[in-house]
């Protein structure tokens, strides 16, 4: 079965992990809140696994889903 992703961001080589000195790549991540999980694809460091959440995503989609879940 194909993976379901709620959101996908491809860093396209424009983000660098300063710890591992390598480019972030599109990778599998999951947002978890109040016992609910949302699989997403975000820029992830292939070595240390640092998952990058951009400002627009945090203040946009993530915030609106948080608010919706809080009222469940």
């Amino acid at each position: 079965m194909a993976d379901k992703n709620y959101y996908t961001i491809d860093p396209e080589g424009r983000l660098t992990c300063m710890k591992c000195r390598c480019k972030l790549q599109k990778g599998k991540a999951k947002f978890m809140y109040l016992d609910n999980g949302f699989p997403v694809e975000l820029p992830v460091c292939p070595q240390c696994g640092f998952v990058y959440v951009p400002e627009e995503l945090a203040l946009g989609k993530v915030l609106s889903v948080e608010k919706a879940l809080e009222d469940k």
């Binding site: 080589g13 424009r14 983000l15 660098t16 992990c17 300063m18 710890k19 972030l24 990778g27 599998k28 991540a29 999951k30 947002f31 978890m32 809140y33 109040l34 016992d35 609910n36 949302f38 699989p39 975000l42 820029p43 992830v44 460091c45 240390c48 696994g49 640092f50 998952v51 990058y52 959440v53 400002e55 945090a58 203040l59 993530v62 915030l63 889903v65 948080e66 608010k67 919706a68 879940l69 809080e70 009222d71 469940k72």
Partner: protein
């Protein structure tokens, strides 16, 4: 003390807020939906208010439709009704009441009804009326409306003579109009017959039999009827004695309902519902209504103007004063029911969480409502209920709760006055005064120490209101215990509260010896720092002082001594609205909080004088000149709109300053090993996003330990993050010689994890 996030959205625990009886008792206090006085007085249940509104709007067709709903023969009623509605018009308390009959007549004169008959199917049972009087005529009309196949036995020969005999004195034009209406009704008239004789011959043909009163008495001399249902049970005859036009029309309505019950083989007294006039509990304020006289109705225009005098009686006393109720456009009864349902649902969206958390819990409605409806109490109970079942999200209240923990943790201070083993007093300025006006608090404490005998201890902390407002009863209980323990350690001195909300909260916690600093200042007289200057000001009473006349009066006397010329504003004293801070509205719903502040400021154009630091701060943020009473007393200004980080820094700074100055204790500054600077945009965003500088510093400390950061090539900025408690904080920065320059910060509550 700990604050925990709710575990899951899949919590099926549920607890009722109220018993059914309590819910109904609360709802019953709200008179918003009670009928207006005119409607309540009409036994036929004419919606006078709606009809007047329709006429005022020039919609005579709608007015006619409303009027025709209550009677089959409007011309007779409009001319002959005794009009109890007019006698009950609220405007009569001021001047002349509305000429309601004139409005009815204007509806008949200028309104037209749509073509087309009834879509209802004709009933199986047929009915007959024997003999003509006003009651039997109305009854025939009512039964036709109910779709009974109808026969009418009378001595008259045509509709016009029938109408004239039944309603003697009816003007020719009205009689003709009524006759026209009658002829259009689906009635099988048996003209020119002897009703009594016809009764004996024909009655077997009908399921429902009614008679004019005289006819009935001739048929059965000495018959007795039940006037409530207009039925002679002995003979199965629908009849009754009536007098006057309205009584006949109402009698016919009761009789028609009895016909329905008989047709269903029920007792006529069965399940009749509410009939006739009703008692109304409506409250309508006449404030601002000018007395006026009747406008003679001669044409459409004058009818519209006369109807325009109607004040559309209703009660919205609470809504008029409350920005929260205005925002949600709901009156307390419906809001309570929706909140009750919200709390009761097990699964699905809780649509009322926002309104529950947006109320300031200030109690203004309980004062404005003629019956004392307390919406704040309902919202408070709902919050506690949701906390107890694990359904209350932490997000709306977390920042405020953390602030309370900070006030009663890192920034807490409880000390006796230097040189005293036992203190008679303890000064409790409150968390907002220390956050916004630390210099003023310092002056106040020094003044109290100087001028009061017996020693004055100091307690810097939060009274617990935040935990209470958030419905976190366990946390609040812990706070109460904590404060009580600290007060005991000081020897349970008399509390001098700097804030009316603290005074109220501490009183509710069982602190008996407590006064406001304003009462002490009245006793001692004003200090030398107090500057007398004549200035016109608008006084905003604190919602924490509601019901506390002593405080309200004391503040006014001190203000007068300072030269303040207090302008009276609407909603002052016990009726004062909340500034938007109370109930944590400022944190849970900024839009409603701003509307609350606007509502407060809309009362006057003058500079505002307040005696709660939260009010002072919110008014200043909206750009209004705003001053706290203690600023004038001590000639020491509060800070202009400190941001959330500055508010914490101020509390901590005051504690450290006083420790050093009064108790000779030096608090060593923590050396981070790096410096953090902020761009103005970053500071603004952080204040807006409720991100503290201390949060940013913790994230940067984590960065230094872990080295985890990402370089954004588009902006050339680094981005790092750390999870602090329930929130992940992100910081965008550039490196400087001595540390970091923060360009932005943001946060989210969701955890983000890798998956395979």
């Amino acid at each position: 003390m700990k604050i925990e996030e709710r575990q899951s959205t899949h919590i099926y625990r549920q607890k009722r807020m109220f018993t059914k009886e309590e819910l109904e008792a609360r709802e019953g206090l709200c008179v918003h939906e009670q009928p207006p006085y005119c409607n309540a007085a009409c036994p036929l249940k004419l919606d006078v208010k709606a009809m007047a509104a329709a006429v005022a709007a020039g919609d005579f067709d709608r007015a006619l439709a409303l009027y025709e709903k209550i009677t089959p023969f409007p011309h007779i009623l409009a001319l002959g009704c005794e009009a109890p509605c007019e006698k009950n018009c609220k405007l009569r308390e001021l001047g002349e009441g509305i000429a309601i009959r004139e409005l009815e007549r204007s509806a008949l004169a200028y309104g037209s009804k749509p073509r087309g008959g009834s879509l209802l199917r004709k009933k199986q049972q047929n009915a007959a009326v024997f003999g003509a009087d006003l009651f039997s005529l109305f009854l025939a009309g009512e039964l036709v409306k109910k779709r009974y196949p109808m026969s009418f036995y009378c001595a008259q020969g045509d509709c016009l003579s029938l109408v004239k005999d039944c309603a003697p004195g009816l003007p020719e034009e009205a009689a003709e109009a009524t006759a026209r209406l009658l002829s259009e009704l689906d009635i099988d008239f048996k003209w020119g017959c002897e009703p009594e004789a016809a009764y004996w011959e024909e009655r077997e043909k009908y399921a429902l039999i009614a008679a004019a009163w005289d006819t009935a008495r001739q048929l059965y001399p000495g018959l007795e009827t039940d006037e409530a249902v207009m039925v002679c049970r002995e003979h199965g005859l629908i009849t009754g004695s009536t007098g006057g036009v309205l009584d006949s029309a109402f009698g016919a309505k009761r009789a028609a309902l009895s016909a329905d019950r008989i047709a269903q083989h029920l007792d006529p007294g069965n399940t009749r519902g509410e009939e006739g006039c009703v008692a109304t509990r409506l409250y309508t304020s006449l404030e601002g209504v000018e007395p006026s006289g009747r406008i003679p109705v001669t044409d459409r225009d004058s009818a519209e103007r006369e109807a325009g005098r109607c004040i559309q009686c209703h009660c919205d006393e609470c809504i008029k004063g409350c920005a929260y109720l205005q925002h949600y456009k709901k009156f307390p009864r419906i809001l309570t029911r929706e909140i009750y349902n919200n709390v009761s649902i097990i699964m699905g969206d809780h649509m009322m969480n926002k309104p529950i958390n947006a109320c300031a819990l200030c109690g203004q409605c309980s004062v404005l409502c003629p019956n004392g409806y307390d919406m704040g109490e309902v919202c408070h109970i709902a919050r506690q209920n949701m906390v107890s079942t694990g359904k209350m999200p932490l997000a709306p209240h977390e920042f405020a709760l953390m602030d309370m923990l900070f006030s009663n943790g890192e920034a807490f201070l409880s000390r006796k006055q230097p040189g005293y083993d036992k203190c008679r007093y303890v000064f409790f300025p409150g968390c907002q005064a220390t956050a916004i006006a630390p210099a003023t608090v310092r002056e106040a404490y020094r003044d109290l120490c100087r001028r009061l005998d017996g020693g004055v201890a100091l307690m810097l902390g939060c009274c617990g209101a935040i935990g209470d407002w958030a419905g976190r009863y366990e946390l609040y209980g812990e706070t109460v215990d904590f404060l009580s323990e600290k007060l005991e350690e000081l020897g349970s001195p008399e509390i001098i509260a700097g804030c009316p909300s603290c005074k109220k909260q501490l009183l509710s916690q069982g602190c008996e010896k407590i006064r406001g600093i304003w009462e002490i200042l009245e006793e001692l007289g004003l200090p030398e720092t107090a500057e007398f200057r004549q200035r016109p000001m608008a006084l905003h009473d604190a919602c924490g002082a509601r019901g506390d006349a002593q405080t309200q009066e004391s503040i006014r006397r001190i203000a007068a001594k300072l030269g303040c010329q207090i302008q009276d504003t609407a909603y002052s004293g016990d009726q004062a609205p909340c500034c938007g801070y109370g109930g944590l509205t400022q944190y849970t719903n900024r839009e409603v909080a701003r509307e609350m502040t606007d509502k407060c400021l809309g009362r006057s154009r003058l500079p505002y004088l307040s005696y709660c630091m939260a009010c002072r701060d919110r008014f200043a943020r909206e750009g209004r000149e705003s001053v706290h009473l203690l600023e004038l007393v001590y000639g020491s200004a509060a800070q202009q709109c400190p941001d959330i980080s500055a508010k914490r820094y101020n509390r901590l700074g005051l504690k450290q300053q006083l420790l050093k100055e009064l108790w000779g204790e030096e608090v060593k500054a923590v050396d981070l090993g790096f410096e953090v600077e902020y761009t103005p945009e970053a500071e603004e965003r952080m204040d807006d996003r409720m991100i503290l500088k201390s949060d940013v510093i913790q994230v940067l400390q984590h960065l230094r330990e872990s080295g985890e950061a990402v370089l954004e090539e588009d902006t050339g900025l680094f981005v790092t993050r750390e999870r602090l408690g329930n929130v992940t904080f992100w910081v965008k920065y550039s490196e400087t010689e001595r540390g970091y320059l923060v360009h932005s910060a943001y946060s989210h509550r969701m955890k983000v994890v890798n998956r395979l």
